[in-house]
């Protein structure tokens, strides 16, 4: 069996699994899996760019995804004019002051001679800067958060079409990645992994706490959609008629229509990104990247600027995660900072990349679809399995405990899949060529 046939077959199997869901459960469920699978595939592409191409260990995927989500809010939600009036200028001034403090500290650090004096000056700048920043920011924050806290209490967004948020989410993530990469890759030894782990937690903490920005744990709901609402479709006689023509009930038809619409949008983004990633992989840039990955010392000796290349690829990969994050928030229609968890948004994406095949874009997409399918379906399968196991048992605390715990089978399964793949097919399902 040649490679193309094998790979096509693998994709067909995953497609078949999703179709099976459609036939056995519901088409809505199947489309939900497909949509999140496509978004996961984009995240996996981003991580594959970093890990597969360049060997950069990014365990802060969650942070970049969340930044994308923030972009969706900032771009598409209507601005809260009252809040802007109450504290908009204060916030902007405060943020500028904060940025100025950091910039001043960095410049001083570069310009001054190392020594006790520099440390004292830097400390003074940072401490004074921090208090000034808080003094300017805090009253504005309080004022903004007082504006109708039940529904807004934040600055709102720009009121632009939500699709614009996708590239902007990418840019936001790229900016954050540049800052982290500049710091962590510039250190004498490489500490990227722990840096990304930390920054992701910080981004989530900011989203949870800065209510003026993202309403924190009060969540932003009702993010505008790029597609019509189901209820509008159901009230549209033309749509109802067409649905009837297909022999479908209008409620069902409208939900499927919207989900299919998302699927098409996501597929377009995925195909574009995939095409770019493939181009990059086979370009001289991609070859150099892999050469650096496989032997950094030799690449450095040949005059390659390894740190710069790493920074490039790190920023690009993170931007892709940001795009995926914005798309996900669009699909959900809400930003819920409390729902971002590293197991789901960082380590699960890693499982996707490793299982699919690090260094192979098609592998990442396949891994993402397959793992996402498992992530969704293991839970009902676990319930089924445990019901089967416990069917012979008499009712009691033990039995109900087992049945309740079925939901936690999915984490266990993900770990098992990862370990089995690493053991028996260490290069993944579709290995790098």
């Amino acid at each position: 069996m040649n490679e193309t046939v094998k790979n096509t077959l693998l994709f067909a199997v995953v497609g078949g699994l999703i179709l099976l869901t459609g036939f056995m459960q519901s088409w809505n469920a199947a489309l939900l899996i497909l949509n999140m699978g496509l978004i996961s595939a984009i995240m996996a592409l981003g991580v594959n760019l970093q890990w597969g191409f360049a060997g950069l260990f990014n365990i802060g995927v969650m942070g970049f995804v969340a930044l994308g989500g923030l972009a969706a809010v900032l771009v598409s939600m209507p601005p809260t004019s009252e809040a802007w009036a109450a504290g908009g200028t204060g916030i902007i001034l405060g943020l500028l002051l904060g940025a100025a403090t950091v910039a001043a500290a960095v410049i001083l650090h570069k310009r001054m001679r190392p020594g006790a004096v520099r440390v004292m000056v830097l400390l003074a700048v940072v401490v004074i800067g921090f208090f000034v920043y808080r003094a300017v920011l805090d009253p504005s924050v309080a004022a903004i958060e007082k504006v109708d806290p039940a529904t807004t209490g934040y600055l709102g967004g720009l009121g632009l079409p939500v699709v614009l948020a996708w590239p902007i989410g990418g840019l936001l993530a790229a900016g954050a990645a540049w800052l982290i990469g500049k710091t962590a890759l510039g250190l004498r030894s490489d500490y990227l992994a722990i840096a990304t782990l930390g920054i992701a937690e910080i981004i989530i903490a900011v989203l949870k706490n800065e209510d003026w920005l993202s309403r924190g744990v009060k969540n932003v709901v009702g993010i505008p959609r790029p597609l019509p609402y189901e209820i509008d479709l159901q009230n549209d006689p033309a749509f109802v008629e067409r649905a009837a023509g297909l022999g479908m009930d209008p409620v069902m038809a409208s939900t499927l229509y919207v989900k299919l619409g998302y699927a098409v949008l996501f597929l377009i983004v995925l195909v574009v990104l995939m095409w770019m990633a493939q181009k990059a992989l086979h370009s001289p840039w991609g070859r150099m990247m892999r050469a650096i990955r496989d032997n950094e010392v030799a690449a450095e000796a040949m005059g390659k600027d390894v740190t710069r290349r790493h920074l490039q690829v790190f920023v690009l990969g993170s931007a892709i995660c940001g795009i995926a994050g914005a798309m996900m928030t669009t699909l959900d229609g809400q930003l819920t900072p409390g729902s971002y968890q590293p197991l789901r948004f960082t380590f699960l994406v890693w499982v996707m990349v490793i299982v699919g095949g690090s260094g192979n874009n098609f592998g990442s997409v396949l891994g993402a679809m397959l793992i996402w399918f498992l992530w969704v379906q293991v839970e009902p399968m676990g319930v089924f399995l445990l019901e089967l196991v416990t069917s012979g048992m008499s009712d009691g605390a033990f039995k109900s405990h087992l049945l309740e715990s079925a939901a936690h089978m999915r984490l266990f399964t993900m770990g098992l899949v990862l370990i089995l793949v690493l053991r028996f097919s260490p290069r993944g399902l579709i290995p790098e060529k």
Partner: protein
Amino acid sequence: MSGNPYQDDRGNKDRSIANPRGSGTAEGARRKGKAVAAPGGPFLIGDSMTGGYGKGPNILHDCTIAVDQGEIAVIVGPNGAGKSTAMKAVFGMLDVRQGHVRLDGEDITTLSPQDRVSKGMGFVPQTSNIFTSMTVQENLEMGAFIRTDDFSDTMAQVYDLFPILKDKRNQPAGELSGGQRQQVAVGRALMTRPKVLMLDEPTAGVSPIVMDELFDRIIEVARTGIPILMVEQNARQALEIADKGYVLVQGRNAFSGTGKDLLADPEVRKSFLGG
């Protein structure tokens, strides 16, 4: 990408997750073979060994080296001749695909390196031959790891042989000078009271004066009755003190004989001793 998917270098530079420091390269640590009686022959012999690292190509081809009681045997040869590899093969740190290693009337070809240590072999590698983060005394104690008896006598003997180590015994070995480090390395190997001592370029990277002193010490050790098998870069000097010499070229025995014979052999002189 390397052949073994588990040995790709991807991502290993990240210090916050991967620690390459001190990782081992030696193979055969998991070998579970037993020694088989095989009387006769020299005290230690690597007999017609053929082998290489991992699944890689053969580096040694039908190579034989041996040392007998009370002797110093020296392996010399050009760079890349497989001298160190031959030593490692004798010590079981790579797979000998053909041929045998015998020690004191036993065939030990299938023994793991650590089992060979308990059989009485002592080995001083060329590089990374001390525990840099441990004190001199701890280095010696680790040398005596397999001994369950009281080894303070042996330690005193090592301190007698290398007096400078006694003064520095509570210093981390990594802070010592090159020559002192080599003394620690040899001292560590002597702590097991080995029946045979193998030295891989003990004078690499030390100054000529220190080198002379090290050679003196090695002769002193040999006089206590421990046979010594040694790889040396400084061929002439080494052959002068050798009872037996082996010249390796590309993993094969090119010449062998007593040290004096080899020094006198015009061909050896021309090719390896610079005339």
